[in-house]
């Protein structure tokens, strides 16, 4: 019978059952409210940005000589690049580590280790970013500074971010791998596939939707992370020449300057917030396209 995506096709049949029709309406309401939150937040950010966008326009955000909004200079390109670089580097480190450690917990680790492992990873997911930031600032940054000053850098930011994102990915990936039907795995075993071939050929493809969800959530957290990056990434608004150069992310920029910004400066920070939302939306759309193309 294939796997139906719904208990009933929504348009027919079920509508006549009283209890189901109000339930469906309630579910739709929940979905609309949840989805609508984004519009509410985005609308608010966009409204606050308009003031400066009328004055500055669009192109100056990439062509101005520097980012000094208090002096009327608005080049945000280095921060866009900084945001993308830290997030991508962090994901490159965190996705394999998260998925592999999930696979470890599922199939490599002794059974008794699984429960404590999950609890520990859940704990790791809940450590405040300030604590990661503090640790990065007092341990990681000086260590990198010994290799190459100043230490506060793209590398430090990506490492701390990776550490913060791994638990999110690992937890979701573990749940996704756990939902791979046992017969599939038994089938793989019956074909004499080894652990690696089973993982690559059977488990990962079967768990794909859950894994994609894990990476999406991880990426969201990486792009939006504020405090930890503010503390370790150096915050200099320049295009980095290497991983040892400091970078400033859009989120860190907002946190760093908002408390002291007024008028156009404040509006400019909201404009970078809008920019960040646009970037995230584009990434989500691209990921969605890629997903659908493969499906």
């Amino acid at each position: 019978m294939g796997d139906g995506s719904s208990l009933e096709a929504p348009s027919r049949g079920k509508a006549r059952v009283g209890s189901a029709s109000w339930l469906d309406a309630l579910l739709v309401l929940c979905a609309v409210v949840s989805g609508g939150m984004t519009l509410l937040v985005a609308g608010f950010v966009a409204r606050e940005s308009t003031r400066v966008l009328w004055v500055v326009g669009l192109s100056r955000w990439f062509t101005d000589p520097s980012w000094h909004p208090a002096s009327g200079l608005f080049n945000a390109l280095p921060m866009v690049v900084g945001t993308l670089l830290t997030s991508m580097l962090a994901l490159v480190l965190a996705v394999p580590a998260g998925v592999l450690s999930a696979a470890w917990a599922r199939w490599v680790a002794p059974a008794w280790a699984r429960g404590p492992y999950r609890a520990l990873v859940a704990l790791l997911a809940g450590i405040p970013s300030v604590v990661y930031g503090l640790w990065g600032l007092t341990v990681l940054v000086p260590a990198i500074a010994r290799v190459q000053a100043p230490g506060s850098s793209l590398l430090a930011g990506a490492l701390v971010l990776a550490l913060m994102v791994v638990p999110t990915i690992a937890l979701f990936a573990e749940s996704a791998l756990a939902s791979v039907p046992a017969p599939l795995l038994q089938g793989a075993a019956a074909l004499g596939l080894g652990p690696w071939a089973t993982l690559r050929g059977v488990a990962l493809p079967a768990a794909r939707p859950g894994l994609v969800a894990a990476v999406t959530l991880g990426a969201g957290r990486a792009v939006g992370e504020t405090m930890a990056l503010l503390m370790v990434a150096g915050n200099v608004v320049e295009l980095p020449g290497s991983v040892f150069d400091p970078v400033r992310t859009l989120a860190a920029n907002i946190a760093l300057e908002m408390a002291y910004a007024t008028a156009d400066h404040r509006s400019a920070l909201f404009a970078t917030g809008s920019g960040l939302l646009v970037i995230v939306a584009l990434l989500v759309l691209v990921a969605d396209r890629a997903q659908r193309a493969r499906a």
Binding site: L171, F172, L276
Partner: protein, 273 residues
């Protein structure tokens, strides 16, 4: 031959990843708890802070934090369950925009949530600096995580159950209530754990919404300082606050452990009910 080699490499890499994770956790946790030890005692969780947090404890702050978390979960869990079930079960033309929209929401920086919460909950809705404002702001933040978790959870329920329920003429409601949601619990719990972690760890979204006041809260309309804000303030703003900062962080970690245990127990109870 290459097969076994690859398998060994894979197992080594998987173990290394897990080890890396545990070491990272160990490094952060051990450093935190070692620095926390001199301040960590019963009085620390009982007393209100004094001398800007260098002395005294975090009693009122723990209470405020738990209230904020309670508000956030109470506000976020019901719509998240509904939206997650909608995406997994009903779908239709509305599903894609909702899903994409929530993925964008997941990438909004927490500071932007803070500013939004300040403008919307504190000012437009007139809630002011309060536990309520902070909790509702956090609810918006954890919503995408909870929805995603519920959707994946309901989706992962074996289709035989759904077919069996349909063949018995069960309504969607009773299927979800007795079978779908309980079966989705492991993933929902994962989402809750992540959401709780993110909410409790949040600083930037709370400073402008639940505020800075470290008095014992008397109602949800009172301003109440969250533990993570306390940690940030002590570590970054108060000279000589490091020991208290680490102790507060340790309390926060313990609180997360506690809340996670409760969430997991709740999930098990729902599943076996």
């Amino acid at each position: 031959m290459t097969g076994t080699l690859r398998d060994r490499a894979y197992q080594a890499a998987a173990s290394a990843s897990a080890l890396f994770l545990l070491l990272g956790l160990g490094a952060v946790l051990i450093d935190t708890f070692a620095a926390a030890l001199p301040r960590l005692d019963l009085d620390f969780v009982r007393l209100p802070p004094s001398d800007a947090g260098r002395a005294g404890g975090v009693g009122p702050i723990i209470v405020s934090t738990l209230c904020i978390l309670g508000v956030a979960l109470a506000a976020a869990v019901p719509p998240a369950l509904g939206a997650g079930v909608f995406l997994a079960e009903l779908g239709g033309r509305l599903a894609r925009p909702v899903r994409l929209s929530l993925e964008v929401l997941a990438g909004v920086p927490s500071i932007v949530f803070g500013l939004f919460g300040n403008a919307f909950f504190c000012k437009v809705l007139g809630l002011g600096f309060s536990i309520l404002s902070g909790g509702l702001t956090l609810a918006c933040m954890v919503l995408p995580i909870l929805v995603k978790a519920t959707e994946e959870g309901v989706r992962a329920v074996p289709s035989e159950y759904r077919l069996g329920a349909a063949a018995l003429g069960l309504s969607r409601g009773s299927y979800l209530w007795r079978i779908g949601l309980p079966q989705a619990m492991p993933l929902v719990v994962t989402g809750l754990v992540l959401g709780v972690g993110r909410a409790l760890a949040e600083t930037a979204a709370l400073i402008f919404t639940s505020g800075y006041v470290d008095r014992w809260p008397e109602s949800l309309h009172d301003s109440g300082r969250a533990l993570s804000i306390h940690v940030y303030d002590l570590a970054m703003n108060v000279p000589g606050g490091d020991a208290s900062a680490h102790a507060s962080a340790a309390v926060l970690v313990l609180a997360i452990l506690g809340v996670n245990a409760v969430v997991a127990a709740l999930g098990r109870w729902v599943r076996t009910r």
